[in-house]
Symmetry: D3
Subunit: 340 residues, 6 copies
């Protein structure tokens, strides 16, 4: 069986109940989430052997994190311990014209203050085929940039496939710094996941004017962006998610894979949203599963798009679907008839 | 006042809160439900004298069932007691492309192991005009088939109107067995309620090819199915519900009554769903009420369609609407303006 | 800074959780609300100095009311105390074809039995620029009519701008009485807020037939109603909210300001509703803020429409949005993209 | 089977969750309760045929009341409808040195404004053996005093046994008025239930000084009070509950029956309290059951004391215990070992 | 590190919130529990490598079971799948004189219908030092007796230490059958855990009359029982828990270990109970940990008594304490001062 | 009216529901709390004009803090804004032998990184009579020590009465540093609040051996500690709270005031605890109120002890009692009889 290693932060997520705003709420639901952790849980749910690497403080909240990940079957044996705190974030669910709102309280988290010696990448990558990280992790601190460099070097040495989701976070770093750091890290990356906004904010890559109509990219626009990314960094594959935000309640959703100069577009889904946070990560988790399972390219992008469509109907960041459920939707059954 | 007798199972229903999947949930809401029980509660809510007949174990959960039914005004004096357990089922609410999911834990329930001597149908039908059951009950066990036969014989002897909702459940029996058993039981039935899927799965009755376009039945297709059912079993009336599943969140909903070779179609409703489980049963309850109240056929199908449209906006299986509310919607007011 | 005084009732509001009907619910959420109180809280949230004037009983529920208002920054120092009870109301959230339902239990509330001597309007209006009330308050009792007269006289003497939302409540008084009382009170009003139904029910003012098509008013119809109101009462400004009830779940929403014979229409919003109770009041609060902030007329109506659009996505009566959030929506961003 | 008629108010009861004070709470649990209604539900739970007589408004809250009572098997067919509102009360659960607190919002309730013609006592008492009311009902209004008089007269004419729980409520009337009215109504009462405080507040009856030590009554003191009550009103039986309030969390509890000059004391229970509201009513319900079941006097007082001891461990006003459970505790098993 | 294997059922446990009775509750909390599973989780929490062996149906509830156990670090790789259902049980929390009540709905569970070929004990015991089961498992079915026999034979062959908690369940089998089956299975058991009731109900072993005073065993009585058990079955060690049920809210709790004719009594704890279900299992888990950790006998019984004392303060069956917390209590600090 | 200024941190407090451990909980209740903020809210509840001074980040959580404090009537106009985060802490409610557990996540909070220029003490103290802080604030950071020095200097200059609760927190600083810093700050303090542990940990002050018996201080021991504190720092008054921890569920509680060489002991309360966090702060709030209200010394200590006794029965840190309620308990009524 394939083994994947994901590296990054995992945070506590606190939600008001229902559609209450943070300022109205006195009861919060705690879950756990993080860009790479969401991918790891998706992979574990699809039956992939996956390890999650992070650093956690020594307290009861961190124990809950470990129990949660281990419950999904994620290997937690390479987690480092120490530091001051578990990062937290607050998610207020939007509706209609009111956008969802995220308040981060992740500063000074254990992973953001982690040191290179916290992780022995040779041991971590033992038996692994794939390494995944996102642009959030190097954004946490310079120490995390160093750790990413170490990880990439070790991964390369062991010939792992490497994937990176650009995931630009403006609260964590500037476009300038992101561009500089990420450009360096991209050197070893095989699969780059992005959306058009990330590509522009991090690398200044924009579609040609001719590929934009009415403010939104055409299919050609997405292909153009993927081509530019590939030309610049030599990616084997670029995946772009296509989100059309009609409102906080309804989105269009699809994806494109760009491989060897060819583009593969998935079906488009019109989604009535339950919880969209973690949607992009669920796409990545499903895509890595599909590629590890040797799905052909079109089927891979369809699987990843369908899986992440379903994530939008599921509370909290972690996707909770089976391969069968995803394939049923890919097969065209989105009618929502009761399954008895 | 008319008196109706409904016979079948009633189960505990456990729901996760909101849109949580069963595997995510640690708090469940308990309600009670069952194909025929849902009909009984609808009838009681419309002011009909209705008795529910079933078998329950002797424990505190069963006491809650009785308290619930009695609270609605359903006569519980003919319920038999004994056996091992109350059947349970788990309902996970779907959204958008993710279908609702039902897990049954009803095996070995008291009613499924009931015996003919548990019920004295002559006494039960004393003063009654109508008997209702569904295809779920004979599917529970051979013992239940025998009990249905007894009930039908006694009902016929007392000249009750008999209605049956085909309600095919693939987890309970095969199409073959269902077809054989149900064909026999249909002999005494006056009103058959079905949808196109039930008709095909139980009796192999399908609309002619010419009545299907784009995979969905035309109006003629529904008429065709109703005509075949009538031709084969001599029903006085066939009711077919017309559900168009756009997604787990949005459905089209309407119905047709077929009487004396004439078809009567209700308005169609586009419904944003709160809880669709029990929707079909709420149609049957409203239809029986309308027929007992001597509504003309068109008004009857409109009342039943409107009542069951409203059920889709109500949590749990039991419909919770008044005759006034249904008639207001029938009258065309579906605008949802606040009622002060 | 401008100072606004709002006068009226504030009630406890009890909601079943989620979409449960009142008859199904055993847990209720308590919040506080009232036509004028909702306006006061909106104003406080936008940074306006606002006082709320009402009469409350001396008990722990009233203490919660005071704590709530004071928490928002509303000046509670002019509230009178005494009388028997806090008015309550129950709100059942509708969905799709099932309308929301409000049950009032406000009879004999302290404010409805208040006396003229409970309020010293000269002191209350000290330093104020604006006085707001609604048609609900004089509907409570003849005593409240007298108090309104006192307030208007004092407000006029101090040259305050006076606004009144017609807000006809058929449970509180007849059209005849409303028309008579309100006509008298309108004499001093500068800004009248209404919808077409209020105008008809209270003053018998209807748009000309030529301004109605398919049962709904055209733009010209709204202008016609505003012109008639202005002609009759000499308002400086008339604001009309334009609600299109597609269903209890989805509404169209916009507004018109009519000033000096000119009409200014806002954008129209198609809203997927979280809680629409208090929507009209949030429009008024935002409008008063915009006018006090010297927004030009078009911007004022856009601000008020956008603010009240957002209210429909927020639980309970009080609007919980910032000026920035409203302006972002006015600026055209209703896409609901996550705010991180 | 014996039939009992209970007459009085039934209110909505709103509780904060857990030990929150009313001023802290935003979620409330709704239940239904009333001095005589609590007795009726106890009787129904023990299998007695019992009717509840009251007046309710025509709204959804009242429908819930009816559904609740009917669910327990209480006959609701003699309830009158009309009037303005359902009385409500708020219960804040005390703990340790902090007492429980009740806020009543029962003024102007439908029953308090009921008229004599709302009730046809001859029809109501058809087939009944026992009539029960409390001192709360005549305290509601002069109209209620008249209705009580009618009821007592009709009950006497039909030779029913009549019981009355003095239940003095200082918020509803003065000692003076209570004493005058209750003295008149006592003429037909067979069984008077009281505690030492009621006896003093209503009738000025106090134990002799020699029967008090350390501020609390001795056994002789209770006998003395019962003897005085009997001498003055000619009761066949006097029941006195003996509560020793150690704190809001822990109480001593027992009771005495005084019959024919003989006193019968129950065991004393030291109770760790879950919810003590309704404790006295659960004593009355159990006592009436025991007397109707021809328990001997000592067993009757033991049954009633044990039943009401158990009530203190049960949430909300209605007692939820079986005859078997009560008899088990009477038999001496208060060890609380798990029942599997 | 030592490895322990536990074998038995694991069920879903449904609790009403707080102190509600089952018949009052509409919200239930789901947790998972079982005599041997509780032991396994305790061991995992203390850092022991432990595998849980059972049979589960293939559904989402079973997936939750697996996720839960795996989250605690329990090895779930030897669980068999198939059969009809997950056993369930309902726990109603008692208080004061009202006992806790358990309703089982475990009939026809997958483990109760498991077959010998579902388990490969040689593979299961690979690397293990200890095997634990309880008297509940053979009580489930004759098939389970056979499987226990297989397990014991394989465990003996691999020289594992074998522990058994008698745990007599009267709902599952008669004393006669229990006595016969358990006597046979005891042949290979090293450590027998019991209480005086189990010893009498299963094996008819009672303390001599001289060891009983006031209906309760003296210390000598417990020693007497342990000696008889040892004499009859040749146990290396007998552990007896000493529960004094003052009420459902307060218990005395301690334990005795009997080894080589010597008795070792723990301190006694007076416990104010949060949840006592699973208390005995938490004792066993802590005892096995202590013995595997080579604690001396007195320390072992103190550790196990302290750990299970703490369990009584923790919701649901699984104990949630660390070795440090237990040792702190053993060391005498039961003052409950806040740990910051 | 007197005006009090309190200075310190205010944090978010997250509680699992009921008695769940942090590691079990997925729903948390948010409240706000802090040593000095708790005092401020107590004072506001007693009708004192009180300002709270702290530094908060600019986000929605901080807005909730402000709304909460303002709701209680606390003046929030001197709060500084900026910095990274709101400190948080998690409280797990203990029971019986399991202690309550607090996990702090307060590092890097806005107040801990505040600068001297954030506060203009001359303006803050305008019109004030009293300044209160605790030993927690200087423990947060060296910057906070400087700010405390500034505040004390300005307070002294304006002749305010100054109170300080030693409140030693071992997670924040060492005994050595605490001793050094606090000794310096004590110079201007008039009223020192402490318990025996604080006195020893911060200043190494212990009672003489002769004043200890069985490990607990005698009355003489407390007097001895107060005398040493007074001798060393010249306090006008020393207040010591006397907690006897029987278990996490039950505590003894009382207090002593030491003034001019005289000691005044309050009654002792045996408390069954609902929530003891904030108990000491509620004592200080009540004491300052009593002293500002010119209660005599014995009455002051009785008021403060009774008020803080009641706090132990109230959820969350803020005390929620009225002067009347406290005086009722002081007057000896701790029987917990229902207040209607």
């Amino acid at each position: 069986m394939s083994r994947v290693v994901c590296f990054g932060e995992i945070m506590g997520r606190l939600n008001p109940e229902g559609y209450l705003r943070i300022g109205q709420a006195r009861k919060f639901e705690l879950s756990f989430a993080g860009g790479e952790a969401n991918v790891a849980v998706s992979l574990a749910n699809y039956g992939i052997d996956v390890a999650y690497v992070t650093k956690l403080p020594k307290n009861d909240l961190a124990k809950s994190v470990v129990r949660e990940l281990r419950g999904y079957g994620v290997d937690v044996s390479h987690i480092a311990y120490g530091g001051d705190r578990l990062g937290m974030y607050y998610v207020e669910k939007g509706a209609s014209q009111r956008p969802s709102k995220v308040i981060y309280d992740r500063k000074y988290s254990s992973i953001s203050t982690a040191k290179r010696e916290d992780f022995d990448w040779d041991a971590i990558f033992e038996g692994a085929q794939w390494f995944h990280f996102t642009g959030i992790t190097p954004a946490l601190s310079d120490g995390c940039v160093d750790i990413c460099r170490d990880a990439l070097k070790a991964a390369k040495a062991k010939e792992l496939t490497i994937s990176c989701d650009l995931n630009y976070r403006k609260n964590l770093w500037s476009s300038e710094k992101a561009g500089k750091v990420m450009a360096e890290l991209m050197g070893d990356v095989d699969l780059c996941i992005a959306n058009e906004e990330d590509a522009e904010k991090v690398f200044g890559i924009k579609a040609d004017d001719t590929d934009i109509s009415g403010g939104r990219l055409s299919r050609e626009g997405y292909i153009n962006v993927a081509r530019q990314l590939t030309d610049r960094f030599g990616f084997k594959m670029v995946a772009i998610t296509l989100r059309g935000s009609i409102s906080a309640s309804d989105n269009d959703w699809g994806a494109m894979l760009y491989v060897d100069g060819q583009s593969y577009f998935s079906r488009n889904y019109r989604i009535h949203i339950v919880d969209r946070v973690g949607g992009g990560d669920s796409f990545v988790g499903a895509l890595i599963f599909a590629l590890l399972s040797d799905y052909d390219t079109q089927r891979a992008v369809e699987f990843a798009a369908a899986a992440s469509c379903l994530k939008h109907t599921i509370e909290f960041d972690f996707n909770q679907v089976t391969v069968d459920e995803v394939e049923k939707l890919m097969g065209g059954d989105g009618s929502g008839r009761v399954q008895r």
